[in-house]
Symmetry: C2
Subunit: 334 residues, 2 copies
Amino acid sequence: MSLPLGKVPIEILRRILKYANTDKSVIVGPGVGIDAAIISVEKKIIASACDPITGASKDIGWLSVHVNANDIASVAADPRWYVVVLLFPKNATEEQIYEVMDGIKKGLVEVGASLVAGHTELTDKVTDTIVVGTMMGIPMVNNKFVSNKNARPGDYIIMTKGAGIEGTWILSEALGEKLDLDDRIIQNIKKLKSKISVLPDVRAIVNVGVDNIHALHDATEGGLIGALFEIADASNVGFTVDESKIIVLEETRKIASKLAIDPLRLISSGTLIAVVDKDVAEEALSMLKKEDITAEIIGKITEDKKIIRRIDGRSEEIKKPSVDELWRVLSEIR
Amino acid sequence: MSLPLGKVPIEILRRILKYANTDKSVIVGPGVGIDAAIISVEKKIIASACDPITGASKDIGWLSVHVNANDIASVAADPRWYVVVLLFPKNATEEQIYEVMDGIKKGLVEVGASLVAGHTELTDKVTDTIVVGTMMGIPMVNNKFVSNKNARPGDYIIMTKGAGIEGTWILSEALGEKLDLDDRIIQNIKKLKSKISVLPDVRAIVNVGVDNIHALHDATEGGLIGALFEIADASNVGFTVDESKIIVLEETRKIASKLAIDPLRLISSGTLIAVVDKDVAEEALSMLKKEDITAEIIGKITEDKKIIRRIDGRSEEIKKPSVDELWRVLSEIR
């Protein structure tokens, strides 16, 4: 049944609140008539980040938690407290809201965070569901954090999992049979979704010492090249990366070749880029591998130019961040 | 000039970032390639709340700060850190973004908070600008806060400023000349906008002792009756309120009478409802008056029924929260 525009009715709000996942650090969590969450902060530093997710995917709630948790992980913090605003288009149903909340709950359990505040609304100003999340967290190692401003020439660049892994499953879901893929490949692509969190990657790597990690970034929109560009930009350095070292999964190669896209410019949440002191790079790799996370050293930080050495021998200089291949492909197909 | 869909271009993002207002508690604030804000927390407790604002009003950024700051004030906390997601419809311009950011900056200066993280995006999933804010704050009085769960029978209910003050200026702006109001009234209504913050009200009232304040609520959607309902619901009590004691400004009465609406059910951000121990009620009133904030004791908390004693002698029992008069009027007129 459709709900009216504006605030959701109180009896439905009560049902929505049953999905709130809180731990004992949350002194006052979400509730009818409760304006703000009250959080007991054990450490003196908290991290906070926000990201919206739009679209009708049934995973939107779950995704919203992971993309926000990834931002928190990227400063070497553990996600702890989640605040979420859900905007639904007119004629949205109760069931749609519960589906989103169920995904949020699942995601929060996976990352170990609590929902502490929220707002749910139907509005004729959106044409599809929009989930806007704000995650707060605390440093994994007491009061230490990684900013992306500290990459230095000579540092090594590590990547995990594979370039374009998120784009691979998004395109596979969006295009389906048009891609004409083997069943085996399709099954493998479905499993990629479970790799969306960089939290295990960061938890493994912090063991080399937070001070030895000079930048961490999740390769979201713009892909691997976009993430490298943003780190270099934030630290005012360059990089040289060898395409031959970059992990590209067979599944991604198949889709990239069918659609003529560059996997290095394909959205890749779940792929961690870590810039570390060169003396700890091998140790970082072995810690990732101990957690069954594929990882490679793909290049190093330089003084200024941002260079990808392509497999065919060309040197490509990156002068501005890439537009994600995903948008190009989806707009051409629609 | 129109911007493309997706992330805003990096050079524009840099300009947007100039609007970030941060103080020294923000160790890492918003920036290109920075995933999460890092905040040094002096006290062990922080408050966090979120609310979206939709619409093309030029005040949308400023409003988003104040409605979120009001939620933080409503737990007797000072707003300190703001996280904001801006969603613009396609064909939005740079100027529109700066206008919103300028409003955010102005609001943040007014409430004394910093912008610590954000995300700006154009998306074809929205048909109008949407600002989703998350505010974090710290208790005004060391580690003490007000929840709305502690209202007890016998407590006195105080209101400030006037019922429906926000609805009064919204309707005046939306309907303009159709309302056929005197110039003097129109000028007074314009001034009402500056009363939107309940922060001065709460800062005045905490001097009676946070433990003596059993509930605080900002009368947003649903108006005064909606706010009273939510407090009673959260505390599992009732109330008896005398309409004759309720402050309704002349400007609100004029508009309410022209449009046949109930000012007690009209959106009223800026109106604080405070439930206090009866022994401190007079002291609370005088503290508000010392700050030039109009305030009245309008009734008291009871065991169960939610009653408004109307001026004409009728007793109206409130069984469910009101739909805001604003939606009814605006939908009838459009």
